[in-house]
Structures are given as structure tokens and as C-alpha cells.
């Protein structure tokens, strides 16, 4: 993995909102087929980091490379091409509540006109099966589903277009521990089956241990530690130690304002 060029490479990534600095020089590599999990407290800018990679937010400075190609400041045609490599599971699932489940899953395929509506439906049913949902679920509206089911549908939607890189934004937050573990297993299974590269963010350590090859910790706008998942318990980094043991006392200062 060290010799091949990384799937995603972030260098000195900066992002501010007005005079509020959120990302202050993030450096991170995600190798091909690798699963990297970024941990960090709430409001440290984990979601912002992913949204910068997806160009949902404009970056304030630095470099983002995908497959060795610089993607900061590219035109909209190139951006469309790059974004086709990506699938994204949003924190709150972000399902379209005006559409039935199957159209949610097949949305990207229909938008790119890769398939007809009837083919799209078949693909959607297949993807739903991959996340353990029956075809009947396809006709329900997202609002009729429980949070765990919504997460599964969102996962099916994220993988529907067979992306090379999948982003998971707090995939287990708000789920009960059993459902959280089901989602973790699905993420591991699906990324392995697809051979996809995964970049996840979470503050759920059990989840991170389960899905990550490598873990990175984001604190005060920088990656302060990165290492193999097995090393997380003896990182020798006081910030990481405080975070994984959930101690109130330690070097990490809690931000009062979000």
C-alpha cells in the first residue's frame, strides 16, 4: 500500500467559516481498498472534512488528490466525473422523503440515465437485498421506516452506483448497540465485497475498531495521530488515550461553542 499512490491524499487542508477555523492543515492518506476511520469529538470538523472532499463545501486552502489527480478548483464537468467515484452515507441518512425507498436507492443511476426505470428497480431490489432488506421495503416511504432501516436504505443508496470510494459519516450514531453492530458488519462486508476504499468518521470507538484498518484522530483542525487499529490502545498519545477511555480529565479542551 505504501508503494501505490493513495486513493485519497489530503495535504495541508484548510477550511474556515468566516473567521472560525475548522480545519487547520489536515494531512491524510487513504490507500486503495483501505478503510480509514477518523475519530474525534463532536464539532471538531469531521463532517466538514468529508464535505470538502466531496466539494459540498469549498476549501479555504490546501490540496485534495483523488487517484493522484488534484481536485481542488476543478471545473464542474471534471467534478461530476470525480464524484461518480464517490458514494456517501450521510449522518442522518438524508433519504428523500418524497420518493419511495426503491427510487431513493436507484436515484443516482436514474440521474445518470445509466438504466431505465424498470432496470433501476431491479438494481434497487438487489442492493436492498445486499443490506438485508426484502423487496417489499422498496415500495415503502422512508418515513415509514425505523432509524436502523433508514440507515440500511441509505447504505444501499450509497453503494448503488458501485462507487470506488465510500464515505461513512457517523454510520452508527443514534442506533441501538445491536443495530449499530449490524451496520458495522454490513459496512465491512460490503466494502470487502466491492473492494471499495472507505473513509469513515465516527466518535463511536467500537465501530471504529470494527471497520478500520487504520485510525486517525482529528483534534483542533489537525490529524494528531494516525496508526493501525491494533495500536490504538497503546498509541502513546495523551489525546488519543483520553478520547478512547472517555475521560473528562486530560489534555483535550472541550469547546463550549459548537
Amino acid at each position: 500500500m505504501s508503494d501505490a499512490r493513495p486513493k485519497i491524499r489530503l495535504r495541508n487542508l484548510h477550511k474556515s467559516f468566516g473567521d472560525k477555523v475548522v480545519l487547520n492543515g489536515v494531512d491524510l492518506d487513504v490507500g486503495v481498498g483501505e478503510s480509514v476511520v477518523v475519530i474525534g469529538g463532536s464539532g471538531t470538523g469531521k463532517s466538514v472534512m468529508i464535505k470538502c472532499i466531496l466539494a459540498l463545501l469549498p476549501v479555504s486552502g490546501g490540496s485534495i488528490q483523488v487517484d493522484g489527480e488534484e481536485v481542488v478548483g476543478i471545473g464542474s464537468k471534471d467534478r461530476e466525473r470525480i464524484n461518480r467515484k464517490f458514494g456517501m452515507l450521510f449522518q442522518g441518512s438524508a433519504l428523500f422523503d418524497s420518493l419511495p425507498v426503491w427510487e431513493n436507492v436507484a436515484f443516482g443511476l436514474l440521474a445518470e440515465k445509466r438504466v431505465s426505470r424498470s432496470e433501476a428497480r431491479d438494481v434497487a431490489v438487489g442492493k436492498l437485498a445486499q443490506v438485508g432488506l426484502t423487496p417489499e421495503v422498496g415500495d415503502l416511504s422512508p418515513a415509514e421506516l425505523s432509524g436502523g432501516m433508514q440507515k440500511r436504505v441509505a447504505l444501499a443508496r450509497a453503494i448503488a452506483a458501485d462507487p470506488e470510494i465510500i464515505f461513512f459519516d457517523e454510520p452508527t450514531t443514534g442506533l441501538d448497540p445491536i443495530m449499530a453492530d449490524v451496520i458495522n458488519d454490513l459496512i465491512v462486508k460490503i466494502t470487502r465485497e466491492m473492494g471499495a476504499t472507505a473513509l469513515s468518521i465516527t466518535h463511536d470507538l467500537a465501530s471504529a475498531r470494527k471497520i478500520a484498518h487504520r485510525i486517525a484522530m482529528l483534534y483542533e483542525g489537525k490529524i494528531i495521530w494516525v496508526g493501525p487499529t491494533a495500536d490504538i490502545d497503546d498509541s502513546g498519545n495523551p489525546y488519543v488515550d483520553q478520547f478512547i477511555h472517555g475521560r473528562a480529565v486530560g489534555p483535550i479542551k472541550m469547546a463550549i461553542r459548537a
Binding site: L56, N83, A94
Partner: protein, 263 residues
């Protein structure tokens, strides 16, 4: 000391002015981008159709009710006034001109702003705060094209149709009061309604309607699109959408009237 006081006064004024300029700039860019997406493919006929039904069909009851009462009250009020100089005969003309040129589009515009503009801001605002708009982008769909353009197209095209129907209902309201309450001869009343009506009266009203339709949907989409901060932000967006659309309708109404007046 004096200069310090002057600073204290000038600072907030400057800040408000800058915020105003920023808003105007953002709105202009939003409008330009939305319009350009209205004319460039891909189009979303299903969504345009759904929005057209929402604006044109489901607004009919409120707009119809507003129009009929406006027509009725107009007949009654103008009778009170006109009887004082024995010009009762002109009531039919007054009703039809007021409705087609002015009250039809303005009242329909205000009602639709409250109904449709608010709903649009709430829907798009919810999609913003629940990241559904971000999700659209990641699924190869431009949210301006998918959410905003269809609504603008539906607003531009359906409002004139809605107002045309409202015109007919409003004139009918005036007719009912004129004939059944004020005792005009039915044929006579209708005759006077037609005789003095010119195509320009109706057309100017329909042009206004189209502009109002644009304003309503633009404000609904703009405020929804830029809402932030959860449920409260969506509520604020909804209020702004209705208030700004109403003010813009009334002020652009004057400008449009003057443009038509000059002819």
C-alpha cells in the same frame, strides 16, 4: 469623545448596509443560476408537473374564494360610492377592471405566497438541514436544476392560468351582487362588463401574475435553500419567504402598473 460616539452610530449602519449588499449579491447570483438551469437540460418533467399541480390546482380553492369575495365586496363598495353621483351604471366596469388589472393578480399572489411559497421554503429548508440537498449533489443531481428550476417554471406558467380563473370568478362575484342584491338587469350588467374591457386589461394582469409566480417561487426556494440551524432555521426561512414575497409582490405591482400605464 464625539468621534467615538459617531463611530458607535456609524458602525451598525455600516454593518447593516454590508449585510444588505451581501444578501442582494447572493440573491442575484441565486436568481441567475436558477434561471440558467431553467433553460438548460436535463429537465425534470415529472417534478415540473407535480409542482404545476401543486401551484395551479391545489391553490384553486383559496384563490377562488378570495376572488369571489373580492368581486362581491367591490360591487357593493363601488355602489355606495358611485350612487352619490348617480354613476351606479359603471359598477360592472369598475369590478371587471379592478379585478383583471389589479385585485386578481395581487390577491392571488398574496394567497399563493402564503400557501405555496411557505410550503416550498419549508420543504427545501428541511432538505437543506437534513443534508438531502447535499445528498442530491453526491448522486449526480444538481439541486438548483432538480429543486429550484422546476418550481420557478411551474410558478411562471401556472400563476397566469390561476389568475385567469380568479378573474372569471371575481367578475362572477360582482355579477351576483350586482344582479341579485343591487337589482341590475343581468344582460345589461354582462353587456357593460364586456363593452369596456380591453385585451390589455386582462393581459397586463396575467403578465403581473407571471411575475408574481416567479417572485413567490424564487423567495420560497431561496430562503429554503439558505436555511440553516435545524427546525428553527426552517421556521425562519418560511416566514422570510412569505414576508419577502408579499413585499416584493406589492412593490413590483406598482412598477408593473406604471410600465403598463405609460403605454
Amino acid at each position: 469623545m464625539l468621534s467615538l460616539n459617531a463611530m458607535n452610530v456609524l458602525q451598525p449602519i455600516g454593518r447593516i448596509f454590508l449585510a444588505f449588499l451581501a444578501t442582494v449579491g447572493r440573491l442575484s447570483m441565486f436568481t441567475g443560476s436558477a434561471l440558467s438551469h431553467c433553460v438548460r437540460p436535463p429537465f425534470y418533467p415529472r417534478i415540473i408537473g407535480r409542482q404545476m399541480v401543486e401551484i395551479g390546482f391545489f391553490s384553486l380553492p383559496v384563490v377562488g374564494l378570495t376572488a369571489i369575495f373580492a368581486g362581491m365586496v367591490l360591487a357593493l363598495q363601488s355602489y355606495t360610492g358611485f350612487a352619490r353621483f348617480s354613476a351606479e351604471g359603471a359598477i360592472a366596469n369598475v369590478v371587471v377592471l379592478s379585478i383583471t388589472r389589479e385585485l386578481g393578480p395581487v390577491l392571488a399572489g398574496l394567497m399563493v405566497a402564503g400557501r405555496v411559497g411557505a410550503a416550498m421554503a419549508a420543504e427545501i429548508g428541511t432538505m437543506r438541514v437534513t443534508e438531502q440537498i447535499d445528498a442530491l449533489t453526491t448522486l449526480s443531481t444538481n439541486p438548483m436544476k432538480y429543486l429550484v428550476a422546476p418550481r420557478l417554471i411551474a410558478g411562471l406558467t401556472m400563476m397566469p392560468i390561476l389568475v385567469f380563473i380568479a378573474d372569471i370568478i371575481g367578475v362572477f362575484g360582482g355579477y351576483v351582487v350586482g344582479v341579485y342584491k343591487l337589482g341590475f338587469n343581468a344582460a345589461n350588467y354582462l353587456q357593460r362588463t364586456y363593452d369596456f374591457l380591453e385585451a390589455e386589461d386582462v393581459i397586463s394582469g396575467l403578465v403581473k401574475a407571471s411575475v408574481f409566480g416567479f417572485i413567490i417561487t424564487l423567495m420560497g426556494c431561496y430562503h429554503g435553500y439558505h436555511s440553516k440551524g435545524g427546525a428553527q432555521g426552517v421556521g425562519t426561512a418560511t416566514t422570510y419567504a412569505v414576508v419577502s414575497a408579499s413585499i416584493l409582490i406589492l412593490s413590483s405591482d406598482y412598477i408593473l402598473t406604471e410600465l403598463f400605464f405609460a403605454k
